[in-house]
Symmetry: C3
């Protein structure tokens, strides 16, 4: 869409230094933006880009406005204000409602008239799809699932039987919700499968990244609360509960029966062992391993950063004997004192 | 299905304390179970739930029977007995056989009359599908693949050319069997692809989780033996062999040409380097890295658990100098002695 | 195809010891190869297999030719020469061009006459597909995407809107290119989504493994340069740039805004934190964590290999107090000196 700088200033509550009638058609990076585009500036690292920008306007803090060669939109939190402006300029692409003739729809399934169902999508029996929801091509939604209003399911999403998702949920390609949890009992060396009778319940305003998997509960539901944001290739085991507004970065692994609090941030490539409880407002750094419950808000880490391989080899040799080294220290202490 | 407590007691070889005529329709957790549902109790942590349960009956050990306010099914191993009862009460959902009119079936492909092939599934030429097998919507099975009897392929499974799976194999959504292994030769800085001529062979009673990938062998087959259970998002490289009844938890990474023995348990988010051999009955803890072969049964680990970030930073600074610290200790030892 | 040993020797520039008229139909491992098959030998570990082989010929180094009981193809780099021979004997399977009647093609989309589009594949509006490209069944290509010549998209690949891929690109099943990057701004405890306006640009001769995901850029494109090879289940965040001829092994995790140089090798199950720069010719060992930029070519590592669990427990207890142990050492040094 096209908006004027005046519209945008009003939308993001900014002080405008420039012509409010200037037309803006979208956002772009400082070094690429054309005169009809909006950019933002938050990091001194890009000072040269700011000085040279041809953008129509830049969202920035008051202190940086003197360095801006074009119109300024001055705000307290430029990153947040830019996000609002970008969302205003680039709403989700509109679509023409309708059910593609190559979609297959089950019996007793209710799809609102203003929905889109893409080609080769298969929807089972007794499913309900809320108003304004977009379901891309090649999805499969099994019997009894419920999808809220104004959701977007991108191509190739799979919702297994009885999965429930709220309103305004965004699912990226390859997401699988409601596959069986990994529940097994050992019978004299052979594994018996434990039927997975629960489902998955996803709250409003949740976003789930490409190829992420969330298993159905064994007895009760796996629960993703409202406002949770999950990146790509995250694995969430059965019986997990993730609290409101928690964000989980790419390739994190959440084992079964974990409870994560509200407003947590779980770093990429981290792993949380089964049956762990994590309090509200906990931050786990990327590539960390969590094997005990965390009772207090705070930042936690365990990842080991790289060194050159030669140093690593030497340190590893010592690490394997760390307990023996510690005992040497204690013995020396006694000898010396 | 509905069964009586008498039926269930006979099925799981339990001593029943209660009315054998009581009807049971399914399983539920202790705190949710209704009078027509079966639950189980194995962990003192849930003693309050047991005391308050309204379940129709509880599977438990003899020592706990006095604390059970409802009918008891007394067994030596309550978890295993519960699993058997749950499997008895909740067999895989029955289906009406048939090939959906929107499925596409190749030439020379043999599909038993009691199979189901879902909408928009594409099956290539010269494929064979065994009796009683269920193939969900949106699957692709390439030419020459062989699927055994009574398998379940959930939506969106891909079997590449010539992949062979045994009987009663359960594949969850997004599983890919038989993509090319990562075989490359370096030619003066450029990578040449090595044709991957083997396939994947999966034994009977194997279960493979959502979005897990198992690559075809370079020359011979990648082999998953009978009874192996693999969780979601596991990566298995080419030429791997996994022994009978081994279980692999979520997001584990098995590099190429690894051999894993029988009855192993590979923890979630662990990684095994290429060309490693692992003996029978090895347990690898979650988030461990295996870079040398393991010749003896036992439990192995290497994951580093989190601390608060401040402690982590201090410890990391020391860790980077671990070899130097060790040398200091040895020097001190000499000085003191 | 069938070739003579003479053809193959010419193709790979080998010195042939044997009958140039011998017919060869394919490649096989030393212990399985039949007289009409070609094998290779590079590792003394397989000396017994070489001695017993029934292969039609073996590609090997001059020093090993005396031990070869069958015809020899003598070269300086047997692995590379074997790769060339295998590629010569096993070119990608030919296909009969055509658009399957169950494919769905958008308006304004241009597909060359010698392409194949498989059953139930959905291609949006204004897409262009280059000459000789094969698109398997069950793919989805969204509006405005561009696919080069002689590509192979295996079943279930998803290309989101405006994604561009070069010539001879090979995409394995379940690959998702161009899903939204994980861009969020925090607004008083709630997450606002930042529109992801860039796309993904993939160069010529790139191979991407099964279920790998590469996100679209926030403003500019995520870029995968020519000749890059990526294994299965790799996650590549938004705004990443990967340099020419870099190889990335399975389940590696590359966070957003990372730049990786040319000819790097990134080990399996490794993770690179956001906004990191990595120089050309860097090798990262498997299961390593990279949290700072790497300015110099070389080999880097941080993974901790397993020990038996008892040793691991003791070492971990010491590790948690590593800073305190180091302080003890420094104090002892002062006392002793």
């Amino acid at each position: 869409m096209t908006a004027t700088l005046g519209d945008i200033a009003a939308q993001i509550d900014a002080q405008l230094q420039g012509d409010p009638a200037t037309g803006i058609t979208g956002v772009a990076s400082l070094h690429r933006a054309a005169p009809g585009e909006l950019s933002f500036y938050t990091n001194k690292r890009y000072a040269a880009d700011l000085a040279a920008t041809r953008a129509g306007a830049v969202v920035l803090a008051a202190a940086d406005a003197p360095d801006c060669p074009v119109a300024s939109l001055i705000v307290a939190d430029p990153y947040l204000a830019y996000t609002r402006a970008a969302a205003f300029l680039h709403p989700p692409a509109p679509f023409t409602p309708g059910i593609h003739p190559c979609a297959v729809i089950g019996v007793g399934t209710a799809i609102d008239a203003d929905c889109l169902v893409g080609a080769n999508t298969v929807i089972g029996d007794n499913v309900s799809i809320g108003a304004g929801t977009y379901i891309g091509p090649g999805c499969v939604i099994e019997a009894g699932a419920r999808v809220g209003a104004q959701c977007r399911l991108h191509p190739g999403v799979v919702l297994m039987a009885r999965v429930e998702i709220g309103a305004r949920v965004l699912l990226h390609p390859g997401v699988v919700l409601g596959a069986d949890g990994f529940g097994l009992a050992n019978d004299a060396g052979r594994w018996l499968k434990i039927p997975q009778r629960g489902s998955v319940s996803v709250g409003d305003d949740v976003e789930i990244g490409a190829n992420t998997t969330i298993d159905r509960g064994a007895l009760d539901n796996t629960v993703i609360e409202a406002g949770v944001k999950i990146d790509n290739q995250v694995q969430v085991g059965h019986n997990v509960r993730i609290g409101e507004h928690t964000a989980i970065a790419g390739a994190a692994v959440i084992a079964g029966s974990v409870t994560i609090g509200r407003r947590c941030m779980i770093g990429g490539a981290s792993a949380i062992a089964g049956h762990i409880d994590i309090a509200d407002d906990v931050v786990i750094a990327g590539m960390s391993g969590v094997s005990n419950s965390i009772r207090e808000a705070g930042v936690y880490a365990s990842g080991i950063p790289i060194t050159d391989q030669k140093t690593w080899r030497k340190n590893m040799a010592r690490f394997r004997n760390l307990d023996a080294l510690a005992r040497k220290i204690f013995r020396l202490e006694k000898l010396v004192e």
